[in-house]
Amino acid sequence: MLLSRGSGRKEGVNVIRATRYVVAVAIAVVLPAVLRAQAVAPLTPPTTPWTGSRTPDGQPDVAGSYAKDWIGARGPNFDLEEGQDPEEMRATGRNRENFPKPQIVRTPDGRIPYQPWARELRTANRKNFFNATELWHLDSNARCLPMGFPRESLDQGPEIIQTPGFVFFQYPYNSVVRTIYLDGRAPLNDRVKLWYGDSHGRWDGNTLIVEGRNLNEHGWYDTYGNFHSADLRIEERFTFVGNKIYYDVTSHDPKVFTQPWTAHVEFTKRVGTIDEPWETACFEGERSVQNMVAPKANQPRARP
């Protein structure tokens, strides 16, 4: 309003210009504030100093195996927006109302803020998944390909291993090792794309803050077609309180989303006797993926 005060009636064109300017400024300044006001309350406790034991190199000692907490959101097959597996609900005839709906996507409506074209593609992905006629209609996990991040870290609890200068997250289901560099090394060139990206971290009190880049565009967020581009950058916060990890991952991908958005899941440290993690081999024994695709298409053989 301050800007429009000087605009007189005689300067009609200028008034319009000024009004446009005011509107633009209002959108630029006020809208983010409105969106912030609409953001849902965080589920993660605030970061505090670490009071527990430390590793020899001074990191908070958080090593151990962790399990995902939420019923209805276990396993590799869930819909990030619903927090449930719609196929499981359909197949079992269960009433989804009877299951708690974890709020994984922390936006006011629980929806991922896709750009319109991206929401359309996501809807198409989902439709294709349930009526697959091409192998690429299936998510990468169904084809024994890597899940990628952040799907892997949203999907299952990690085993955390710490050595000087590193935090390693192992995901037993896919025998995946994620290396998080704490040594401040230079980032990888953007042109290098990886399923699991390049991860750089630092400790702030009880919170491990990780930045992930160099992710390829082939890993979805879930089985049901929620996706990102190869420009995705993720900011993650692993906050360790008691025996819990509060995990928040914020996706920045201006090619696909209208604004950054955050997903939240929680893990609890496993105690007692923990089974040894043994070999998982998926692709080596894969014989069924062709059966998941309607036979009408001329499919290439899975492999020799």
């Binding site: 505090t48 100093p49 670490w50 020899p56 190199d57 001074g58 990191q59 090593a63 091409e134 192998l135 690429w136 084809r143 024994c144 390909l145 890597p146 291993i161 050595t163 000087p164 200068g165 590193f166 390693f168 192992q170 025998s175 995946v176 090792v177 290396t179 560099y181 704490l182 040594d183 401040g184 090394r185 230079a186 990888l188 290098v192 990886l194 399923w195 699991y196 390049d198 630092r202 400790w203 702030d204 009190g205 565009e217 082939h218 040894e276 993690p277 043994w278 070999e279 081999a281 692709f283 080596e284 894969e286 993926v289 290439p300 053989r301 899975a302 492999r303 020799p304």
Partner: protein, 254 residues
């Protein structure tokens, strides 16, 4: 208080963490864990042509010549197995795990021409390989092999220290993996013993004893150095080669 705490942590981590790669090459001493054991942590790779043929071999198109890594020169095959090895050589472009992009077994994964990272803690030593994202967990807590029969691609690894040498006993293999691209092979009776010992801070002597009473007339050995990747900030990247074949099927236009 909080920021002082954070700064201290950053300083402590920086003091310990800035050394990977070129910083670890000072001669004379080998890196050790707080408990005094040798610390094998880091990124390593072989520098030889064993991936193509572990025996002595001359060059072929796409295959560099090489002196072998088999101690004594030749693998002591039983007569039937030598014939099988020849058949394997003939079908190597379709039937070898490297052609299919399957997990390659042990010790072959060590001498694939890709780096691997050793992640050492007192109770377990994990090795994360770039090649097909293979992961080995070597249990160091004194537990025995699980009771078989079990057939795994990468076997079951149990390790212990013999002085400054890491000794890893590996059993429970399947009969699908081979030792190289030249068709050298084993059965599910394979028993592998690996010995990792520092030559200096940047070199490991890697010795392997192979036993398989179904295929060989007696035990035999391989030996080769492992080289530390001494460039600043070495990385193990990804080689998920099965993502390159037609199962992958990327969406058109992307």
């Amino acid at each position: 208080m909080k920021s002082v705490n954070s700064i201290l942590v950053v300083l402590v981590i920086a003091a310990f963490a800035s050394a990977e790669g070129i910083g670890q090459t000072q001669s004379g001493t080998i890196p050790r864990m707080p408990d005094g054991r040798p610390d094998l942590s880091g990124v390593w790779q072989v520098l030889n042509s064993a991936a193509y043929d572990i025996e002595d071999h001359h060059a072929q198109p796409g295959v560099p010549a090489g002196t072998g890594v088999v101690v004594g020169g030749e693998i002591p095959y039983q007569p039937w197995a030598l014939e099988q090895k020849k058949r394997n050589y003939a079908n190597r472009l379709t039937e070898d795990t490297d052609a299919k992009c399957f997990l390659p077994g042990v010790p072959r994964v060590t001498y694939m021409p890709y780096p691997f990272r050793i992640i050492q803690t007192p109770g377990r030593i994990d090795i994360s390989y770039e090649y097909v994202g293979a992961l080995r967990r070597i249990f160091m807590n004194g537990t025995p092999h699980p009771r078989g029969p079990i057939q795994w691609w990468m076997g079951d690894s149990r390790g212990h220290w013999d002085g400054d040498t890491l000794v890893v006993d590996v059993v429970h293999f399947n009969d699908q993996t081979r030792f190289d691209k030249a068709g050298n092979f084993h059965s599910e009776m394979l028993h592998v013993v690996e010995r990792y010992s520092f030559i200096d801070a940047s070199h490991i002597r890697y010795e392997v004893t192979i036993e398989d009473p179904k295929v060989f007339t007696g035990p035999w050995k391989m030996e080769m150095p492992l080289y530390r990747r001494i460039e600043t900030a070495p990385r193990v990247l990804e080689y998920y080669c099965y993502g390159f074949n037609d199962v992958f099927q990327l969406p058109p236009g992307r």
